[in-house]
């Protein structure tokens, strides 16, 4: 998958602004970014259901503008919003979706039990989907995306709304897919999900890509090794700001705390202690993808 200068505009609004990226076969590629960054718009263009405003795109070695149906035939899609067929049962949802792909009836029927198993919905097979919980519907949509044994799966916030067990189940199944050589593209707001799953990811902000790399590279580049989180007594929120100036390699001011980045947490801790700033608590932890995300996209929320 190759995108060059990929652009999507809705009237005046630019949702995706000339982004470049490549996804290699068999890779798990992630899109991170705050609400409205343009992740879904990008996924929809890749899924050949949204015409490009500009740039070029190659998906599975084809051009979505001309070979949309051929591309979609080899894709599995989990859209951000569940699109289950509310008028049909769980089984019929899987069945008719397979039929949309032109799969022979017998072949679809054979595939249904394993997908029900995958979604852990075997005992709900004959229920109407209207009576399923939100998480069950989500699992059904994920299972449904696999009915055509796709070579690439697009997952737009796949585990939003799932309980922790179901999330781990989905991660498990996604790992299994990658072992079979399936390429995965996913967007997520969960940093642990991105760290768990993604070989490489891009961080999007305001319609552009602001960083790209493996989770480890991104953490090393943008967050450093260790992190000190400093909280203040009630009413003292920003009081320590100037006082903490110069400590660590960088500081991030959040609504309820200041995050200080550096390579040696012990040194940071003692510097804060000696600064004379009144502090309620300090917490040392390893730098994570969340720190990268906050650094690259977080400022806007505070201002």
């Amino acid at each position: 998958m190759v995108a060059r200068g990929l652009t999507k505009r809705f009237g005046e609004l630019t949702a995706v602004d000339a982004i470049d990226f490549d996804v290699h076969t068999g890779e798990v590629f992630g899109f991170l970014g705050p609400n409205g960054a343009g992740k879904t718009s990008t996924m929809r263009m890749i899924g050949a259901v949204s015409p490009l405003t500009g740039g070029t795109l190659q998906v599975l070695d084809r051009d979505p503008a001309t070979d949309g149906a051929e591309i979609r035939a080899r894709l599995g899609v989990v859209p951000q919003e569940n699109t289950v067929d509310e008028e049909l049962s769980v089984t019929d949802n899987l069945y008719i979706y397979g039929r949309y792909f032109g799969m022979p009836r017998a072949q679809v029927r054979r595939r249904i039990p394993e997908l029900l198993e995958f979604a852990q919905l075997t005992d709900r097979a004959d229920d109407k989907v209207t009576v399923l919980s939100g998480g069950m519907k989500r699992r059904l949509v994920i299972a449904r995306a696999l009915i055509n044994t796709p070579s690439m799966v697009l997952l737009d916030e796949p585990t939003t709304g799932l309980d922790p067990q179901a999330r781990h189940l989905v991660w498990d199944r996604l790992h299994e897919l990658t072992r079979q050589g399936v390429t995965l593209l996913l967007t997520t707001h969960y940093m642990d999900e991105a760290e768990q799953l993604c070989d490489r990811l891009v961080v999007m902000s305001d319609a552009t890509i602001v960083a790209e790399g493996s989770p480890r590279e991104l953490i090393a580049t943008y967050a450093g090794r260790e992190v000190l989180e400093v909280r203040f007594p009630p009413g003292h929120r920003y009081a320590g700001w100037t006082g903490l100036d110069g400590i660590g390699s960088r500081r991030e001011v959040l609504a309820d705390r200041v995050i200080i980045y550096g390579d040696d947490a012990e040194q940071l801790t003692s510097a804060v202690t000696h600064s004379g700033v009144e502090v309620a608590s300090m917490l040392v932890r390893r730098a994570s993808l969340e720190d990268v995300f906050l650094r690259l996209t977080g400022r806007r929320l505070i201002e």
Binding site: F10, G47, V49, S50, P51, G68, A69, E70, R72, A73, L75, V77, P79, E81, N82, T83, V84, D85, E86, E87, L88, S89, D92, Y95, I96, Y97, R99, Y100, F101, G102, N148
Partner: protein
């Protein structure tokens, strides 16, 4: 089961539109009562007119100036009105519901299906249903002795033409609708069409100016066409009605397909 055979028959050709129809058949199999009620309603009207109103009214003036029984006069209008209602509800309420609320088409379009498949499939399904209703209603008319001419056979394709005309315009209208409130406007537009399109009394009871207005009503053209066919009063004037309905189908179809493409693939 019959539906199962129908599914098999319709889908062996395997084109995209037929898979959309297969989905609608699957839904219908679960909601047979809704399907049956679409047929029963006009038949109930017909019974009510035949045994009740018809007795009171006696004969009325037919399209050729001769007398016809009131039931034979009103029955083709009921057929036309049910063709209109079926097509309009399916294309407005049905499409709006599936597009905005159910997100059904988003799911379909993530597969190899195209907007054209979806549009053709939905129209095809609506017409298959219309065909079943029209055949059933014609059978009832024949049994009740309300059909005066073999030309009546053409009333069935005429009802299908009406289905295309109203379905296409309805679908075009549906793409402009934003909320359920807009759907009430559809009801508001259908009622006067139903009542004042020379459905229940001959056109010549109106004053001249109102007659002209009635002739702008699309339902009027459907009613006049089907009525002439079942009563066997055939003339070149019928081609005018056909042309009016065909024009509706073409214009509605062009607008609908353009708008659907924009809306389904933003």
């Amino acid at each position: 089961m019959l539906t199962g055979q129908l599914i098999a028959a319709v889908t062996t050709r395997g084109s995209g539109a037929s898979r959309v129809i297969e989905r609608d058949l699957l839904v219908t199999r679960n909601n047979l009562m809704v399907f049956v009620s679409g047929f029963v309603e006009p038949v109930f009207y017909l019974f009510a007119i035949d045994v009740g109103l018809g007795r009171l009214v006696g004969d009325v003036t037919g399209p050729d100036g001769g007398p016809v029984s009131y039931a034979a006069f009103a029955a083709p209008a009921l057929l036309a009105a049910s063709a209109m209602n079926g097509a309009v509800y399916e294309s407005t309420f049905g499409i709006f519901f599936k597009m905005r609320w159910g997100k059904l088409y988003d799911a379909m379009l993530a597969t190899p299906l195209t907007p054209t498949d979806v549009a053709l499939g939905e129209i095809g399904w609506s017409q298959l249903r219309g065909l079943a209703y029209a055949c059933a209603f014609m059978t009832v008319m024949v049994v009740m002795g309300l059909v005066a001419s073999p030309w009546a056979v053409l009333a069935i394709p005429a009802a299908i033409l009406m289905g295309f005309a109203f379905g296409a315009v309805g679908m075009a209208v549906a793409t402009f609708m934003r909320s359920w409130v807009d759907l009430d406007m559809v009801n508001l537009a259908l009622l006067p069409l139903f009542l004042f399109s020379a459905t229940f009394y001959p056109l010549d009871v109106y004053p001249r100016s109102l007659q002209m207005l009635t002739q702008l009503s699309p339902l009027y053209h459907g009613v006049a066409l089907i009525r002439s066919l079942t009563l066997g009063t055939i003339g070149p004037g019928l081609l005018l009605h056909v042309a009016f309905l065909a024009a509706m189908a073409v214009v509605g179809g062009i607008v609908a397909s353009r708008r659907l493409h924009e809306q389904l693939l933003p």
